[in-house]
C-alpha cells in the first residue's frame, strides 16, 4: 500500500539527511506503528506519505514514495487527498470550519463529490466515530478526545485507503486516548484501512499494532517487523516490555493481559518482598498550604474545598481527567487566579495572588502546559540572560542549567526551532531560574520520549532531594509512579483521593501503571523497583 524505495530527505542548510535511506513496504490493511526516539525523523517520514514533505515543507526528497500506486513526486498533497488522510497532534490546527458536521464535509466539498454522497458519508462517519450526538456542536466546545475524533472523521469521509496519524493520543487523558484507539481499531478491522501512526506513549498503543516500524537512531537503517520482535531490541519501549526483558519472558508480552499470564513465576519469586518504602523526608515547615480553596471562573466553580499541604522533599502528582481543574489549581498556586474563598500560602507567609511577581518567583515557579508561553526572546542566549536579570542574579547560572539539560544546543537557536522536549527543558531553566522551593509543572511529558522523560525525572529527583517540593499535573501514570510519593486525584474540581502513590494508583483501573497491573496484588509500581528487588534474590533458574 505504501512503498518507500531508497527514500531520504534533506532539508536546506542541513549537512546530512534528516531521514533515510528508507526502503520498505507497508502492506494493505495493517496498523503500523512508527516508533523511535525524538528527532529521528518520524514526522518527516509521515509527511512523505501525505506529500507534505517536500511539497509543503521544502527540502529535497531522494528516492520515491508511492501510495496506492501514486507517486508523491508528481502528486501534490491535494491530489493525494482521496487516498491519504493525515491528522496531526494538535487537532485545533486542522479545523477549517466551526461545526462538527461542516468539518466532516469540508474535504468532500473540496473534491467536488455529489451532495447525496456527501450526506450519506457524513451520516456513516458520525455513527462510526460515535459523534452523532455532537453533530451541530461548535468544535471549540468539544473535549480533547472528541476533537481528535472529529479530526480523524474529517479525513475519513474522503474514504482514504491510508490514514497517517502523528501522535494522536499524546495530549489526551487515558480515557480519551482509549476512545481514539477504539476508533482506529474499528477502522482497521471493519474497513481495512491502512494506518501508519507515530506515538511516544507506547504503553497505550503497542498492543494494537500489527507491525512496528522502528527508526532506532538518526541515520540508522529502519527496522520493520512483528511488534514483539522489534520491541525486544527497541531503545524505546513501554514498561511492560521492560519488565518482560528483565524477567526474560519469551515471547515478549506486549499487553498487560499477556504479561499477567507469563508473570506467575515472577510473582512467586517476588512474594514476601515489598518495594522499598519511599524515603519519608517530608518534614519541616510546609512549602505550600492550601486551605478550603474555591476558585470560580465567571459563575462556574472550577475548584471547590481543596485542602493540600506540601512539605520540603515531597513530590506530588495531580491526576484526573481533562477539565478536572488540575491546571487551574496549579495556576492558583502561583496567583494567576485569585481564590474565591479559602486561601493559598507559600513558605514565609507569601500569598501568591497579592505578591509581586519578582518576590513570588523566589517561592514558587510554574512551567505551564505549553512551554512556549514562557519564552519571549529570539535566541536561547537572550532567554537565559533575561532569566538571570529577572532573578537578580549575575549572568551565568541559567545558561549552565540549560547546558546540563540540553547538551549541544547552540546559543543562537530560536526557541521555537527546538523540539518539544528541548523547549520544556529550556522553560524549566528560564521559568523558575533560581529553582524556587515550590516547583510546579503542568503536563510536563507531552511529546517527550522515554529518554527525555528519564532526564526530566532525574532533575526533579535531585531537586526534591535538595529540599524543594514538586507538584506535577499529569496524565502520564508511568511518570507519576516513577516520581511521586503522593498522588492527589481531582474530579469536577474536588479532591477525591489523596494518599501515597502505591495506595491511590493501584486501586484505580485507569491510573494504575502497567507494572502494578501485571504484578497485582503485589504493590510494585515500576520496573526499577522490581529490578532492585531481584538483585537481592539469587536467580531461581
Amino acid at each position: 500500500m505504501i512503498r518507500f524505495s531508497q527514500v531520504s530527505v534533506t532539508y536546506p542548510d542541513a549537512a546530512k539527511p534528516v531521514l533515510g535511506p528508507v526502503d520498505l513496504t507497508v502492506p494493505e490493511g495493517e496498523l503500523c506503528l512508527l516508533v523511535g526516539p525524538s528527532g529521528v525523523g518520524k514526522s518527516t517520514l509521515l509527511g512523505t506519505v501525505s506529500g507534505l514533505v517536500p511539497h509543503f515543507t521544502g527540502g529535497t526528497l531522494h528516492g520515491r514514495v508511492t501510495v496506492a500506486g501514486r507517486d508523491t513526486r508528481t502528486h501534490r498533497p491535494r491530489d493525494l487527498a482521496d487516498v491519504v488522510g493525515s491528522v496531526g497532534q494538535d487537532p485545533l490546527a486542522h479545523f477549517v470550519t466551526d461545526t462538527v458536521e461542516d468539518e466532516l464535509a469540508y474535504g468532500m466539498e473540496s473534491l467536488g463529490l455529489p451532495p447525496a454522497t456527501m450526506r450519506r458519508r457524513v451520516e456513516e462517519t458520525l455513527d462510526l466515530l460515535g459523534l452523532a450526538g455532537l453533530r451541530d456542536r461548535p468544535i471549540a466546545t468539544l473535549s480533547g478526545g472528541q476533537q481528535q475524533r472529529v479530526a480523524i472523521g474529517s479525513v475519513l469521509t474522503l474514504h482514504p485507503r491510508v490514514l497517517v496519524l502523528d501522535e494522536p493520543t499524546s495530549a489526551l487523558d487515558p480515557g480519551a486516548a482509549e476512545e481514539v484507539l477504539a476508533v482506529l481499531q474499528r477502522l482497521v478491522h471493519d474497513l481495512g484501512t491502512t494506518v501508519l501512526m507515530a506515538e511516544h506513549r507506547l504503553e497505550r498503543v503497542v498492543q494494537y499494532a500489527d507491525r512496528v516500524l522502528l527508526l532506532p537512531a538518526p541515520g540508522a537503517a529502519p527496522v520493520l517487523g512483528e511488534p514483539a520482535a522489534v520491541m525486544a531490541r527497541s531503545p524505546v519501549h513501554p514498561p511492560v516490555v521492560a519488565l518482560g526483558r528483565l524477567a526474560g519472558w519469551d515471547p515478549l508480552p506486549l499487553s498487560v493481559r499477556d504479561a499477567r499470564r507469563a508473570a506467575g513465576p515472577l510473582r512467586e519469586r517476588l512474594s514476601g518482598r515489598a518495594p522499598a518504602a519511599p524515603a519519608r523526608t517530608a518534614g519541616g515547615e510546609p512549602l505550600l498550604t492550601v486551605r478550603a480553596l474555591s476558585v470560580r471562573r465567571d459563575r462556574a466553580e472550577v475548584l471547590r474545598g481543596i485542602d493540600l499541604v506540601v512539605r520540603p522533599g515531597e513530590t506530588v502528582a495531580l491526576m484526573g481527567r481533562n477539565g478536572a481543574g488540575k491546571s487551574t489549581l496549579l495556576r492558583t498556586l502561583v496567583g494567576m487566579h485569585p481564590p474565591a474563598s479559602g486561601g493559598v500560602e507559600l513558605a514565609g507567609g507569601v500569598v501568591p495572588h497579592r505578591a509581586e511577581p519578582g518576590r513570588l518567583l523566589r517561592h514558587a515557579g510554574l512551567v505551564p502546559q505549553d512551554p512556549r508561553d514562557l519564552l519571549f526572546a529570539e535566541t536561547v542566549a537572550a532567554e537565559c540572560a533575561g532569566a538571570d536579570t529577572d532573578a537578580g542574579a549575575a549572568p551565568g547560572p541559567c545558561r549552565a542549567l540549560v547546558a546540563e539539560l540540553l547538551p549541544g544546543v547552540p546559543d543562537s537557536t530560536h526557541p521555537r526551532d527546538l523540539s518539544e522536549g528541548q523547549r520544556l527543558a529550556l522553560a524549566l531553566a528560564v521559568g523558575p531560574p533560581a529553582a524556587p522551593p515550590a516547583l510546579l509543572l503542568d503536563e510536563p511529558t507531552r511529546g517527550l520520549d522515554y529518554a527525555a522523560k528519564a532526564r526530566l525525572a532525574a532533575v526533579l529527583r535531585k531537586l526534591a532531594a535538595a529540599g524543594h517540593c514538586v507538584v506535577l499535573a499529569t496524565h502520564d501514570v508511568e511518570l507519576a509512579a516513577e516520581l511521586a510519593q503522593r498522588v492527589v486525584v481531582l474530579a469536577d474540581g474536588e479532591v477525591v483521593a489523596d494518599g501515597p502513590t502505591a495506595e491511590v494508583v493501584v486501586a484505580s483501573p485507569s491510573f494504575a501503571p502497567q507494572v502494578a497491573k501485571v504484578l497485582a496484588p503485589q504493590g510494585w509500581l515500576t520496573v526499577g523497583q522490581v529490578a532492585t528487588a531481584l538483585d537481592g534474590i539469587p536467580d531461581a533458574a
Binding site: 464535509a105 473540496s110 450526538g133
Partner: protein, 378 residues
Amino acid sequence: MSDALARLRAPLVTRSNALHAGAWWLWALGLAAAASRTTNPLLLALLVAVAGYVVAARRTDAPWAYAFGFFLALGALVVAIRVVFAVLLGSPIGGTTVVFTLPEVPLPDWARGVRLGGRVTAEALVFAFEDGLKLATLLVCLGAANALANPARLLKSLPGALYELGVAVVVAMTFAPRLVADLLRMRAARRLRGRADRGARSLIAVARPVLEGALERSVALAAAMDARGYGRTADVPPAVRHTTTALTLGGLLGVCAGSYGLLAAEGAGFGLPPLLAGLLAALGGLWLGGRRSPRSRYRPDRWGARAWLVAGSGVAAAVLVAWAGGSDPAALNPPAVPLTAPGFPPLPAAAILLGLLPAFVAPRPPRPGTAHAEEARP
C-alpha cells in the same frame, strides 16, 4: 381546524429547515430602507421595537446572536453624540423656542460660520434627536440581521468563484478569538518569569511571540487544508477561460462607465443601460469562473416558502413606507420648525408592523437551556 393551524405553526429549527441567511438580510435591509425614509420618532421607535421583537423571538444562543445588544448600545451612543454636537456647535435649524443659552466662545474671523456655544433651541434639539434616531434605527436593523443570520452560512451561499474569500473570512473569524486568548494567556505567563503582568508594556512585550504563534498556526492550517484537497482545480477548456476573462473585465468596465453616467449631471438615461449590462456580464464571468473549481456544497441553505415570506415582509415594509412618503411627506418627516407633535400615520405604521411576520413564520430555535439537555443524550 386546529390540526391545520398546528401544521402551519413554525417548526423548531434544524439544519435542514434553517432559514436562508440571505432572507434575514433582505428582511433587515427592507426595514433599514423603511427607516431611511422617515424621521418621525414614533415610526422609528416602532421599527426598533419590531426588529427587537423578532430578534428576541428567533435568535439562537450562538455567539453572534449577542451582537444585537451591542448594536442597541451603539445606536444610543449615536443619538447622544448627535444631540451633544447640536448643543455645542449650534444647528442651522434656528428656531425661536430658546431652552437655555451657553456662553459663546468668540472665534477668529477665518472660522466664520462655525459657532461654539450660544443659544440652544428646542427645535434644534428635536431635529438632532430625530436625525440621530434615524441613523440609530438603521444600525439596529443591521444588528438584527447580524444576530439572526449565521455569518458562516451566508458566506457559503456566495458564488463558487468567490468561495476563497468566504474561506478567508471564516478562518479569520475563528483565528481572531484565539489570538486574543493567546495574548491574554501569554501576558499572564509573564508573572511566571517574575515580570509585571499588568499594564500596556506587558501587552506589547508578548505581541511578537503571539504573532509568531499565529503564523505557525496559519502554516499548519494551510498544510492541513492542502492535504484535504483544498485548491484542486478542474480542467477548463481555453475558450471558457478566455470568455471568463472577457466577461469579467468587460462587465467591470460597463459598471464603471454606467456609474459615471448616472452620477454625471446630464446623461442619467445613458448611464443605466451600460450599468445593467456590465452587472450581467460580471455575474456571468463569476458563474463561468466557478467552473474552474470542482467544489460541491454540502447541505446548502434552501430558499423555501418561509424564506420568501421573511424576505417579502421586509421588502413590503420598505416599498409601502416609501409609497406613503410620496403621498403624505409631512406625516413621515414632521417639520422641526415650527415645533409640532409628530402624528401617527396609520398606513406606514401598519406597513412597518408587517416586519413582525418573521417572528411567526421563521423556524423557532430551541429555548436556551433545553438545547444542552438534548445534546447530553449519549
